[in-house]
Symmetry: C2
Subunit: 708 residues, 2 copies
């Protein structure tokens, strides 16, 4: 396997200018004279300070952070989680390298756990309910870490408790098309579907199954999808390599929403009363389908029915059949059913975010937020502790500078260590709900580093060189540049980025690293196979810190509205190519949206001219005015009515789309639906999305001029 390096910078907005500068740090500037009040107000980012910061980021410190964070399992709200809370607080309150202030923000949130007295079970039972086979309930231990009694057994969080029994069928990734095809070969009512991870979200595998009368869904990881295709033998996997051992199980939440389920759009603080009761939210989670998540290499060879198509085949050494439903008459499982017993229980528990702040000197009311979740499923060395270790190293270096009086950022830097992310982004969602208006009005950008490094590999050139080599795009304005991976954005619509070392060349494009959400994601695993020496972690810390400092200290925010225009133009081009002809046939015109994109480009060019022609060093209020325009640009694309069926999505450019086209998500989804149904009411929705897009883009363009 070619070992290479890549940074994907997920970006919801106009952060492009960042990419350009990252490759060029180290340009020195003359030292500032002693600061007077006026000098302070117009001070720009200090390149020497960035150089110092980069040199002080220490891989050994990161390694030590990771060792500390991964001592014990730290699933949300457990005792291990509380230990990490204390550790973060201790570090951020340290008198020599801590922040200005650090504190805990607690929420009481709705969680789901397996019941030790009533463990989850998947068995094969015959007609007289005799158990013919029991699926393994926990992973095989290879290191002492895994002997910890607090290793949570594999389970599907939020799967409602209950017992079901049905004939087994194989449903590939559990995508809508998978069930549609399967349904053509048999009557699915009363069956239990086994699906493999990948291709569709966890809960989607069950939601997609429900219309066909499937009563239960099992999810397992096929070696094909995680171990670079074929490696699945016990000797080829961890502890012998980074590959997932056969008994490894990916845990996960089967909640489709974001934030605490009982308090949608409201912070789950004591002060806010619970709005939903669990019985009311059950329909969101699904009523009749029960989940489990188990590897099984015994059931597959026994499955009856026709052989499934090529792209349904995995890496177990047998053909993958659809199922009869059920097992072959020739197998020991003849006439048997699969029985699933779920003993999960739901509970409201206190989960903590740990927050810290370095207050800004000139614009304390402008925030650059840097965050990561703290909770894991088991030890979580990679997910999320690699990112937390990096965050702690950045805060250590910056905190020390502040404590020594050597530096204070222009804008406030807020660090967030979120709780209960694994259950559905709960800690960060509650935080944004609690401080919604304040954050929306004042946040310059959010940087997230969750999994910092998820694959081995390093080339000894610069981050920038690696980035532009392996993940690039050609921009009409800038030529070849590092490519940012675009991400969707939820309610707040704050310019956001996520950094990650990954490996672009894994054979089959596995969606994640092999030990993800299993009991094998430990310090041993991370330090042996992912990043021995922690130099990749160090590079992430340097890069993320560099971005953070430029956002916090630049006089003019490093956000480019021209690059935003480029994205809109790309999206428009794709939309015209994909949809214009068919829209015309329905009497729907794309001219308004074309005019809107032109208006946006014109307004962006105008603002760029204003910036170029301004004497920013002498006009502190004008700098603030321009920065406000850049900071708030993304907010102009919010429409709380655009996606009534998509919880928390409001951004007409950066919302998740199921159509999978690199274009306007609402239009793409509406078009796909109308083209498939042919119904006038669906074409009306296309019409609606054309209208709201047009108005949003025009509205955003208006914000790029200071008056009228």
């Amino acid at each position: 396997m070619l070992k290479t390096l890549l940074i994907g910078f997920g970006c919801c907005a106009c952060v492009l200018a960042l990419g350009i500068v990252i490759g060029h740090f180290g340009i020195s500037k003359p030292e500032s004279p002693a600061l007077s009040w006026a000098d302070d107000v117009v001070k720009d980012v200090d390149e020497n300070f960035i150089t110092t910061f980069l040199s002080e980021v220490d891989n050994k410190e990161i390694e030590q952070n990771l060792r500390e964070l991964t001592k014990v399992p730290h699933m949300a709200t457990t005792e291990g989680d509380e230990q990490t809370v204390q550790f973060m607080l201790k570090r951020w309150k340290d008198s020599e390298s801590g922040l200005d202030e650090a504190w805990r923000e607690e929420y009481s949130v709705y969680l789901s756990f397996p019941d030790p007295k009533n463990p989850n079970k998947v068995t094969v039972v015959n007609a007289s309910n005799a158990v013919l086979h029991t699926v393994r309930e926990k992973e095989i231990n290879y290191t002492s870490d895994q002997n910890d009694p607090n290793v949570v057994p594999p389970y599907a969080a939020y799967s409602p408790p209950g017992n079901i029994k049905g004939k087994l069928v194989y449903a590939n990734y559990g995508r809508p098309n998978d069930y549609m095809l399967l349904n053509e070969t048999m009557d699915l009512r009363g069956t239990v579907a086994i699906t493999r991870y990948g291709g569709a979200g966890r809960a989607a595998k069950a939601i997609n199954a429900a219309p066909y009368g499937v009563v239960g869904v099992l999810v397992y990881t096929d070696p094909y999808d995680i171990n670079d295709g074929l490696m699945s033998d016990q000797n080829e996997t961890y502890p012998h390599s980074w590959y997932l051992p056969p008994s490894g199980v990916e845990r996960g939440s089967f909640n489709t929403l974001y934030g605490d389920l009982l308090t949608p759009y409201l912070a789950a603080k004591g002060i806010v009363q619970k709005w939903y009761s669990p019985s009311e939210i059950t329909p969101i989670i699904l009523k009749h389908v029960t989940f489990s998540s188990k590897i099984t290499r015994i059931e597959f060879p026994a499955l009856d029915g026709k052989m499934a198509p090529n792209d349904w085949q995995g890496s177990f050494p047998c053909p993958y059949n659809f199922g009869g439903p059920g097992f072959k008459a020739a197998s020991t499982f003849k006439d048997s059913k699969v029985k699933v017993d779920i003993g999960n229980y739901d509970v409201v528990k206190n989960s903590s975010n740990v927050m810290g702040i370095i207050r800004g000197s000139v614009e304390p009311d402008r925030y650059v937020i840097y965050g990561n979740h703290r909770d894991s499923w088991v030890h979580g060395a990679i997910d999320p502790s690699s990112g937390t270790s990096v965050m702690l190293e950045i805060s250590r270096v910056l905190g020390r500078m502040v404590k020594q009086g050597k530096w204070r950022p222009r804008r406030s830097i807020i660090f967030g260590s979120w709780g209960a992310e694994e259950f559905g982004l709960i800690g960060s969602a509650e935080y944004t709900e609690q401080y919604f208006t304040k954050l929306s009005e004042r946040t310059v950008a959010y940087i997230n580093v969750d999994i910092a490094v998820n694959a081995p590999g390093f080339e000894s050139t610069s981050v920038y060189d690696n980035w532009i080599k392996y993940t690039n795009k050609t921009s009409p304005t800038h030529g070849v540049i590092p490519r940012f991976l675009e991400v969707t954005t939820l309610r707040l619509s704050i310019t956001s980025g996520s950094l990650l070392w990954t490996c672009p060349t894994r054979t089959i494009g596995a969606r994640i690293y092999p030990a993800y959400h299993t009991a094998y994601d430990t310090f041993d695993y991370a330090s042996k196979y992912i990043d021995p020496g922690f130099t990749s972690h160090q590079a992430v810390a340097r890069t993320a810190g560099n971005v953070l400092l430029r956002l916090a200290d630049s006089l003019l925010l490093p956000l480019s509205c021209g690059d935003y225009a480029e994205t809109l133009e790309d999206y428009l081009k794709e939309a015209v190519m994909q949809y214009e002809e068919q829209l015309k046939a329905k009497d729907l015109s794309m001219e308004p949206i074309k005019l809107a994109v032109s208006s946006f480009r014109r307004a962006a060019s105008h603002l760029e001219e204003v910036i170029k022609n301004s004497d920013l060093k002498n006009e502190p209020l004008k700098v603030r005015m321009i920065n406000d325009q850049l900071m708030l640009l993304d907010r102009a694309f919010l429409d709380p009515l655009a996606f009534p069926d998509k919880y928390a999505f409001r951004h007409v450019i950066w919302t998740s789309s199921s159509a999978g086209k690199p274009t306007f998500p609402g239009l793409a989804d509406a078009f796909a639906k109308a083209a498939s149904s042919g119904q006038q009411s669906d074409w009306d929705k296309v019409h609606y999305h054309l209208s709201i897009l047009t108005q949003a883009i025009e509205g955003a363009a208006h914000t790029l001029t200071s008056t009228f």
Copy 2:
């Protein structure tokens, strides 16, 4: 009648500080030295300039404006409307007293007009359809104005065309309780209800009737409700006094929403495609009920049935009966029905706003908006031209100062002359939809002066003295102060005020001046009976201009978060008194909301301390930071999900409420519903409103500190 003066300042937010300063203009300050850049940035409002402004506001100019604006009828989108557009543009582009720039913003909007070929008719017909009586179709002319062929005959805009026939009944004000009582005396199915203006919105009179099977609703003005009780004889009314003549009819829109009906939440620009078709919006307007608006003093004496209660009686010299339904056997209308023929047609037409701007010198990206609608039903001398005349005088005085280089506001001043208001606030709503984000992020305040003066009367003391004498309140913080009338706020949640001279002592508290929306609202009427000499108009212009200048020029915005806290405390007190006991019985606690209001008060006091302890003259960025907090405070109370059934309402403090209590509107409405139905799902809604209120108030409190 005691003739007195009053200014009601409708206020959605924290404008209280304004009230305090208005009484004290004229305090002089030393002249500024020659401006350097730094001085300019921290320049405060200039009291000498305000004094100059006040002295230049000219009553004769206002009179001349009104004469010009009321030459011809100028209903929205008619030729007369276009003449007023041209007049506004000419004035605002004038080289000696115009603004920096003025332009037209056009929207194509859905309107409803009577069809001259198919006029609306109300007749009494006997069993063989012979017409026994026809209700007058237009007002009697008393002045030459009314001979204008463009006087639109009385009609109910958006009443769907059609013909209905039914027995007549009298339904008082058409409130829910009125129909409920009426329904106890007879079967209302198939009847036509006659209702009087007042007590309920126009459309509500029909919406409330629909559940009982009423097929048509007529609306008339009872002399009791408009002519101070009893005066209704032809010799006592206009042209002999300001009272409404017997043939006067109040026109009006029976649309319950705001803005263009075909493009809800979207600007009705060419660039945005129409989203609803008329057939889809009909249900909003009502399907089976037809409106008309006619005075009738013939039908009443003939109405059969029991005599209606005292508070149903009006000023016609006869007892008001419920109706049989239908007429007395002894009357000439025996066995007759009322027939209503509506010939309205709907049409999409271009309506214009006229916009003008004086750009700010220091903070051009902060807007103080001053507006009024321009369209009338007929000549509209009072509604809206009294307000437009005042606006033009303010813009003339300020425009001249700008053209002469003597003054430029710190912040931009935007003037808006809205189109098609009478049909449902269309011009202003489309404007806010088009520039939603830009206005929301940058508008300091909005001042509306529609009807500037609606009653005769003046006492020769100052505006402030009159105000505090006739409309005051006692504040725990400030003692006795002028009272602001609180108004609801729609989507944007911008601090807003509305100014009006009115008369607090009219005998029965008539809801409006007698000629409102009739053909008698002419220059003759206004100059003879409402404000001879135009000195009341002048006082409004001075006061509104004074407020405008303080909002535009003050270094620190004259908005008080402490006064906002006071309102929240008043609301809370009322809510605790009204609801706490019953909430406790339902296990719902008011403690969270009490804590939230305390948090808000604490945060407001903190900000007031910060302001007091700041050296604002030397900290331009800090001033901007504090001003942003004050300007945006109201935005923190927006929740787009709080009122799913109330179009365009999002503000959890300033939304319209039907419960009529001076407290939190969502809570009050939810409580009234739950207390009446007793259903658990309704108590859950109360719970929900407690939660969103708590979070909104806490969230607003958070915005009053600059960091965390």
